[in-house]
């Protein structure tokens, strides 16, 4: 444990008070807390035909970064590093994202890098920024994520496996397509088609309701982009400010009619798996003391994150292993968490993890999830932060958790506190 923790713990022996454990400790406000002073995302739009189908990932990111500057009013020169999680970009997207930051209005003194931890890249980006701040490497940073699955999703995403990798059975499992392995997991773990469909339908219904009530308004930063009308072939400028994957009228029964996608007798189909989408998200972070000095409004704080590995063929169980680990790190229990944002890669795996951990349904993804509005791979982890913090604020709740399974067999989870 760090010196500051020790100091406050020993200090509390004289003054009392601060040595609370568990949730009470989580809610304490200390000058060295890593806080979020702005968090936003673009709309999330359907891959291939949605509003962002003609927009490059870097343009999405530039838009989101510009949004962060506008919303927080921060002097861009104070931002020392930007980390962008992105999965499909060739070359890791490093060059485009550096360029995107310059377009967004950051000076050349603001460093930029990209990272790829598959579906948790956006969260990893935020965690990396938080850790850099905590370690004293930077004072202000942005964790972000982006994916343009319209322009970059395809067979080129994974290069050929060498003979060496193919000859190692567990290594070779790393490239089994996620739909196929999730189908197998659903079968092995006895997750019925009906329970998946009802979980997926409720994701749609929650998202429809949230969208109608305008609950996404606060988190979405509208972007003006070029869009080629597929019918007329005419290119026009449109403003995109709502998720276009959310469909009304989806029920478990209507989903029940869709044919399984990965096996004849399977249970997984397009309606109970995450959508292929485009989107970007960004989170501005700094120490509480810095935020107060700069007069930045504090949305919430980052507490801790966990990363775990699981067998590649069981990648869907990632949250089941990552969530208890982050509880251990933070000293809280599942009852202390008010809202869970668990990525719905597949209804099967999200449902299984929640049931296995005994998490209450009503606290999971209250505004719907990736099944309803999409999972732009690198974006999701950063997207969850704004979805979570704004919902916690709106409902007057405090403690939130974001988590996701990660392709090739990993899981991540992070604890956040809204203020």
């Amino acid at each position: 444990m760090g010196a500051i923790d020790r100091l406050s713990q020993l200090g509390s022996q004289i003054t009392g008070g601060a040595s609370a454990g568990g949730k009470a400790k989580l809610l304490e406000k200390n000058p060295d807390d890593i806080v979020v002073t702005a968090a936003l995302r673009t709309a999330i739009c359907k891959g291939g035909k949605g509003s962002f189908k003609d927009t490059y990932a870097a343009d999405l990111m530039a838009g989101a970064l510009k949004g962060i500057i506008e919303r927080s009013n921060i002097n861009p020169a104070l931002v020392e590093d930007i980390v962008v999680g992105t999965v499909l970009a060739p070359g890791g997207g490093a060059t485009e994202m550096r360029a995107a930051s310059l377009v967004a209005g950051f000076p050349d003194s603001t460093a930029v890098r990209t990272l790829n931890r598959q579906c948790s890249s956006g969260l990893q980006a935020c965690v990396d920024i938080a850790n850099q701040i905590r370690a004293g490497m930077i004072e202000v940073g942005i964790g972000a994520g982006v994916e343009s699955m319209s322009t970059q999703y395809g067979p080129g995403a994974v290069s050929e496996f060498s003979e060496l990798l193919e000859s190692h059975p567990e290594a070779a499992n790393c490239k089994v397509p996620m739909g196929v392995l999730s189908e197998k997991m659903a079968k092995d773990r006895n997750i019925t088609r009906a329970s998946q469909d009802s979980f997926a339908a409720s994701s749609f219904q929650k998202a429809v309701k949230a969208q109608a009530a305008g609950l996404f308004k606060e988190e979405i930063h509208p972007l003006k982009v070029k869009f080629e009308d597929p019918k007329s072939g005419e290119t026009k400028e449109i403003v995109v400010d709502r998720d276009d994957g959310i469909r009304d009228g989806v029920t478990a029964e209507s989903l029940g009619k869709i044919r399984a996608a990965f096996a004849k007798d399977g249970s997984i189909h397009a309606g109970n798996a995450s959508q292929v989408s485009d989107g970007a998200a960004a989170v501005l972070m700094m120490k509480r003391s810095t935020a107060e000095k700069l007069g930045q409004p504090i949305l919430g704080k980052f507490v801790a994150a966990s990363i775990v590995g699981v067998p590649p063929l069981l990648m869907g169980v990632g949250p089941w292993k990552a969530i208890p680990k982050v509880f251990e790190l933070t000293g809280i229990t599942k009852d202390d968490v008010d809202i869970y944002e668990i990525n719905e890669a597949f209804a099967s795996q999200c449902l299984w993890c929640a049931n296995e951990l005994g998490l209450p349904q009503e606290r999971i993804n209250p505004k719907g999830g990736a099944i309803a509005f999409g999972h732009p791979l690198g974006c999701t982890g950063a997207r969850q932060v704004s979805t979570l913090l704004y919902e916690l604020r709106r409902t007057g709740k405090k403690v939130g958790l974001t988590s996701m399974c990660v392709g090739t067999g990993m899981g991540m989870a992070a604890v956040w506190v809204a203020e």
Partner: protein, 321 residues
């Protein structure tokens, strides 16, 4: 306060001092660099001789040391609670390194206590909210008791090997028994009376030392001792007299008390208040450790504080009148 022996621990701030249960001339001090905030720890084993207090041995550790306990089965061994969450068993007869390392606690280990009855076990408490019971010969714990809160203090009963007590917010026994309305703030230290096997004294943030009788958990404290001006950091009942205890405090004093047990029957509905027998005010920083010598005429105490000093003195010199 004429005769007082002194030992300095330059560069290291003591957190605990304990007399050997085997020798009247040996004691050990757990210390930490930089007040235990960041840096190394050092365990001193001291000998009392005609030339004063001499260091017989010193063991260095990578992280701060917060507590120590002498082994009850091996006169050469003692275990320390370390800032990295580990417990280390040192042997005076072998080298500079621990003979056993017990690494399970996820945060700072803050107290250790050797079982005085079942002598093949000891316990530790930690800021990670658990108490662990260990065997000195096994690297993994025998049992983990989740307390849920950061525990500053845990101890075995000196008369019943099965009873464990701990802080931090209420005295709590391993039987699950808690004490009603007992202490309004964190308990930093507690100790079992050596003669009356149901009596426990607690001290902590609210500066008050309280005694409880575990036979009457709903009855509240059976005595209070008032006087410390800051939190009470360490308590030790006398091994020689059933009503006497010593306390070390963040107010830099060590005080010796008689609890109210020998007083005439108190008025109903009042909590008896014990007497302060004397104040030792020679420490110039937080007093963190105090322990009684088991041997001799009784009354010899060792105290330690953040002033980087260990003082050995006779409580009789404090007594008034």
């Amino acid at each position: 306060m004429a005769s007082m022996l002194e030992f300095r621990t330059p560069g290291f701030n003591p957190y605990a001092v304990k007399y050997s249960p085997y020798y009247d001339s040996r004691l050990a001090v757990a210390t930490s660099a930089n007040y235990g905030i960041v840096g190394n720890g050092r365990l001193f084993v001291l000998g009392l001789g005609p030339a004063g207090i001499q260091a017989e041995k010193a063991f260095d550790t990578n992280d701060a040391l917060y507590d120590l306990a002498w082994s009850e089965i091996n006169e050469n061994q003692l275990v320390v609670a370390c800032g990295d969450g580990s417990l280390k068993l040192f042997d005076l007869a072998t080298g500079d390194f621990p003979v056993m390392n017990f690494a399970e606690h996820k945060r700072e280990a803050f107290s250790v206590c050797w079982n005085p009855i079942a002598k093949d076990s000891f316990l530790s408490s930690s800021w990670d909210g658990t108490i662990k019971i260990w065997s000195p010969s096994r690297p993994t714990s025998l049992k983990t008791l989740p307390v849920g809160n950061c525990t500053y203090s845990a101890a075995f009963s000196p008369t019943n090997p099965a009873i464990i007590s701990c802080g931090p917010t209420l005295p709590l026994l391993s039987t699950g028994q808690t004490f009603a309305g007992a202490v309004p703030s964190e308990i930093l230290t507690h100790d079992w009376n050596k003669y009356r096997d149901t009596v426990v004294a607690t001290g902590g943030v609210d500066r008050v030392v309280r005694t409880f009788d575990i036979r009457n958990p709903a009855g509240g404290p059976v005595g209070v001792l008032l006087g410390h001006e800051y939190a009470v950091r360490r308590l030790a009942w006398s091994p020689h007299a059933s009503d006497v205890l010593a306390s070390a405090s963040y107010d830099m004093t060590v005080r010796v008390w008689s609890d109210a047990s020998s007083a005439p029957q108190p008025q109903p509905n009042t909590i008896p208040v014990g007497n302060q027998l004397g104040v030792m005010n020679r420490h110039s920083e937080f007093a963190t450790g105090v322990d009684w010598c088991l041997f001799g005429t009784g009354g010899w105490l060792a105290s330690a504080g953040w002033d980087q000093r260990v003082l050995v003195w006779d409580a009789h010199t404090l007594l008034r009148g």
